[in-house]
């Protein structure tokens, strides 16, 4: 086996040096009753060539563009990834390296992550960002736990228009230690209704997603003002499509205290939902309560600029049960990928790309309206929007599927009061031709 370099000779000589006879002797310290009686029942090892054929076969059983025309977002977005990014991220000095605990031989990772942190802080308009969390959902859960730690309050308010899977994850994380979650309802225009939120002093945090699950852009400024009428309550903003901030005002400029969300759109393949990238940023005052790794700039003993992991006393390997989180492994390589992607687009490119994405969705929306669909929410949108189709659209949806067109996602499963409502998405990868074809099919 090509991953195991030992020849029989090597093995015998090494065993001799240790004073043992066989490989089994190495396990004498394991009591007999603990040792496995049967062999591993796994299939015969595949050669590289058999493995490739096997995996190619499986990959062929997946519906992907360009074969399928997919108009679906809902937390996972199809964007073009430059070849440059794919090539650079496969440099094995990056991906076979460990966490940069030995800074002298990890300056590549450390500088790149420092740059990533800066990019995230710029994108979100915040003071400081960490080196990543697992994904947008767990980032949101950790943001709420962070707010609970800071304020010492045990209740949080979460908008109903936050991605339903994110809310499920928040529920899982917060119910184990027994914290309370209040859900904020929605308004007719497709944004969050904060009017029922009283007694803010009981709340550690209020969380709002923008653009939200319906694709609608929330009025974060006015939400922030309401929430900050209590000095301590923390305003947590979340996103699933960070490309939006290439066009719209970033959460930091609108009063966000902790901004978190999913970075997959920025250079990461969708990959059936993972690995993703939990982006996490906050105001400087909260940095000691922040979860996750942080890279900081410093100098070496010759005064040369360099980077190190810092403020590690927040983390589990030092603070143990009192740590700001249990997180150890993060999504480091994904953060690096996003930094590479942003390096390619630059500030100029990302504005153009965001604008193009916005316009694609608007085009599709208008086309569907002209075809007789109803757009129930009139708040401005980015990338995604909700459409109310005529009753029984389910059959049309299935028919479109057979024609290899995915007309978004039915959201009735998450919002039972919205039958025949579908969430559609259009990015720079959906051509006018394809959108026209979809509209035409739906019309008929």
């Amino acid at each position: 086996m090509r991953y195991l370099p030992h020849t029989d000779e090597d093995i015998n000589e090494m065993l001799q040096e240790i004073g043992l006879k066989t490989l089994n002797d190495l396990f004498e310290s394991i009591p007999k009753e603990c040792r496995r009686k049967d062999d591993l029942n796994l299939p015969k090892p595949l050669t590289e060539w058999e493995l490739n054929a096997h995996m190619d076969n499986l990959a062929a059983k997946m519906a992907v563009p360009p074969d399928y025309k997919i108009f679906l977002g809902a937390g996972s977005y199809n964007h073009y990834i430059p070849e440059v990014v794919k090539q650079l991220i496969s440099r094995s000095e990056f991906y076979t390296a460990y966490t940069p605990y030995q800074p002298e031989i990890s300056q590549g990772t450390l500088q790149a992550i420092y740059e990533y942190q800066t990019i995230v802080a710029m994108l979100l308009g915040m003071d400081v960002a960490n080196a990543s969390m697992y994904d947008g959902a767990s980032a949101l859960a950790e943001a709420l736990l962070m707010a609970i730690r800071i304020t010492k309050r045990k209740k949080v308010a979460v908008s109903r228009l936050i991605n339903p899977y994110y809310r499920q994850v928040v529920q899982t994380y917060l119910s184990a230690p027994g914290y309370e979650i209040i859900e904020l309802p929605s308004l007719k225009n497709g944004t969050t209704d904060l009017s029922g939120l009283h007694d803010l002093e009981g709340f550690a945090a209020v969380a709002i997603q923008s653009p939200n699950f319906f694709g609608c852009i929330e009025n974060l400024k006015s939400h922030g003002e309401s929430i900050h009428s209590d000095q301590k309550t923390i305003f947590v903003t979340v996103f699933t499509e960070p490309l939006a901030y290439g066009l719209i005002k970033n959460p930091g400029s609108l009063g966000s205290d902790i901004a978190c969300g999913e970075g997959q759109s920025l250079g990461l393949p969708q990959s059936f939902g993972g690995p993703g990238l939990g982006m996490f940023a906050s105001k400087t005052t909260y940095v000691r309560s922040m979860p996750g790794r942080l890279v900081g700039q410093t100098t070496d003993k010759n005064g040369k600029r360099g980077f190190v992991l810092t403020l590690a006393t927040r983390e589990q390997h030092i603070r143990r049960e009192r740590a700001t989180s249990n997180i150890c492994s993060n999504q480091g390589l994904c953060a690096l990928t996003t930094a590479m992607y942003i390096s390619c687009t630059g500030g100029t490119g990302i504005r153009k790309l965001a604008s193009l994405n916005h316009d694609k969705a608007e085009y599709l929306k208008k086309g569907l309206m002209d075809a007789g669909a109803v757009i129930p929410f009139n708040a401005p949108i980015f990338n995604e929007f909700v459409v109310k189709f005529p009753p029984g659209f389910k059959d049309s949806y299935a028919r479109l599927l057979k024609k290899k067109m995915v007309a978004g996602l039915s959201i009735t499963q998450f919002y039972p009061e919205l039958p025949d409502h579908y969430l559609l998405c259009a990015t720079e990868t959906n051509t006018r031709e394809d959108m026209d074809a979809l509209i035409k099919e739906i019309k008929s």
Binding site: Y3, L23, E115, T118, S138, S271, N326, K360
Partner: protein, 484 residues
């Protein structure tokens, strides 16, 4: 190889991204605009982020240079204890980046995603076979998240039977994520001391166990590289008090095909795919931390779960007792594909991998026990722990030894963990390293020990070869500069 491993090389300087570039440059091929501009509501329109604009070559040189300052498994030996820095097979990368996998949306109907669902189902079966535990969830995105899932499941189990137990027993050798994960769940960690042989004794567990203990979190093999030989009895006593046994499976690389976790009384465990199953560490992640559970805890596994019916696969939420969801979708699928690919390439040879990992560690232990102090002079599993006790008289510390190893061309072992050994040096060679590489490493260690006696300045000044010298970590923490 007669010459030393470490040499010098051309190391180019490279500024920060925003110290480069010129406004208007681009490294991105903007797609054609085939639709009109739709103006955005002025109230929401922003200025966009002030990212630097770079040309494609700017970007390529930037990251190429940065990569050259890094040391990866592909550069050389990386004997980090408890990290299992084994070789990351390139063929696994190919599989994960196949278009059908990489470009797939997680929320299409199941019949359009059979490829990945089948992989997930079969990976679960494989991990089940390897651990002996029947039910698996691939959802946790890292070992620590797997621990969290396990802790939540234990809590749910007790709540389901009407009891509230608030404490978890955690050995003094535990990795920091163990008490951290239990605390997030609302448990109070209760420490258990290891004995003079470096393992948990039945007596020490018995002395702290009561009916308020929800369970015990054991790492087996433990962080000293030793098999917890009393584990069967310990599981017995924990069960007798109504508690459950969680195993941190970070060190699974020592015992694949050798121990069946279910047989020794384990109720639930997590695996680290980025350790035992060869997926790359990525400079910090992404990893994956699947949990494997016995029948009693199966109902509490995270949802959705992969289900098979008549040869088709789909995701089901229909598990009312589930702890819920930890990941927005189904976990780090890209990582799962790599682990699956590895398991298919190895098959039952996984046992040989474990045997050779243990062989390599014992070889290092025997050859170095006169060089560095060995607190537990007994057979080890896949890793062995030394300390800097012998070098104390020269005022040389574990840190100095580690930094000097860099000058010899090796990544240092894990240092200052586990905490029970003062100045711990934990070495895990893995099965990937050949005898020659181990011999080079041993020679380097011996040479450094000599230097410690004859010329300790060499260690205090180390490392001298890489791009930077020792960093001022005090300054970095006292005056944090976290954003450029």
């Amino acid at each position: 190889m007669k010459e030393p491993l470490a040499t010098t090389g051309l190391v180019l300087n490279e500024p920060l991204l925003w110290e480069k570039g010129r406004k208007g440059r681009s490294g991105f091929s903007l797609p054609q605009r085939d639709i009109d501009v739709f103006p955005m509501d002025d109230n929401f329109l922003g200025n966009g982020p002030d990212f630097p604009d770079l040309s494609e070559l700017d970007v390529v040189r930037h990251y190429t240079r940065l990569s050259q300052w890094n040391y990866g498994v592909d550069s050389g030996m990386y004997p980090l204890g408890s990290c299992t820095m084994k070789y990351n097979p390139k063929i696994n990368e190919r599989q994960a980046s196949l278009h059908g996998f990489a470009s797939s949306h997680p929320m299409l109907p199941a019949e359009l995603s059979q490829g990945v669902l089948k992989i997930m189902f079969h990976l679960e079966r494989n991990l089940s076979e390897i651990t002996g535990l029947p039910a698996v969830s691939l959802q946790p995105a890292a070992g620590a998240q797997g621990e969290l899932a396990g802790m939540m499941m234990i809590k749910a189990f007790h709540q389901n039977s009407g009891s509230t137990r608030n404490k978890i027993l955690i050995p003094d050798t535990a990795h920091g994520t163990n008490p951290a994960s239990s605390a997030i769940c609302g448990f109070t960690p209760v420490p258990v001391k290891s004995n003079e042989l470096g393992v948990l004794s039945l007596e020490s567990v018995a002395s702290v166990i009561d009916e308020d203990i929800a369970g015990i979190m054991i790492t087996n093999p433990n962080t000293l590289g030793l098999f917890e030989e009393n584990i069967k009895e310990i599981s017995g006593i924990v069960h007798s008090k109504g508690g459950l046994v969680y195993v941190d499976g970070a060190n699974m690389n020592a015992i694949m095909g050798i121990v069946n976790m279910a047989d020794i009384g384990i109720d639930i465990m997590h695996l680290n795919l980025h350790k035992t199953f060869s997926t790359p560490h990525g400079g910090g992640g992404p990893g994956a931390g699947p949990v494997c559970a016995g029948k009693e805890l199966e109902p509490f596994l995270p949802v959705p779960r992969v289900v098979e019916k008549n040869g088709s696969y789909f995701l089901s939420q229909d598990f009312p007792k589930s702890i819920g969801k930890l990941h927005a979708f189904y976990g780090n699928v890209g990582v799962l594909i790599k682990a699956y690919s590895y398991i298919l390439s190895m098959g039952s040879t996984l046992k040989k991998a474990s045997q050779l990992a243990v062989l390599n560690a014992n070889y290092l232990k025997e050859k170095l026990k006169a060089t560095f102090y060995l607190p537990y002079d007994r057979p080890c599993m896949h890793e062995c722990v030394f300390s800097d006790k012998l070098q104390e008289e020269n005022r040389v510390t574990t840190l100095d030894i580690a930094k000097r190893l860099i000058d010899y061309g090796f990544h240092p072992p894990t240092v200052y963990f586990p905490l029970v050994i003062h100045g711990a040096i934990m070495m895990e060679p893995t099965e990937s390293e050949s005898r020659e590489t181990l011999d080079l490493f041993i020679e380097a260690c011996k040479s450094i020990a000599d230097e410690a006696k004859q010329n300790p300045e060499l260690l205090f000044e180390a490392p001298v070869r890489p791009k930077v010298r020792r960093m001022d970590e005090t300054k970095a923490a006292r005056h944090p500069y976290l954003t450029g």
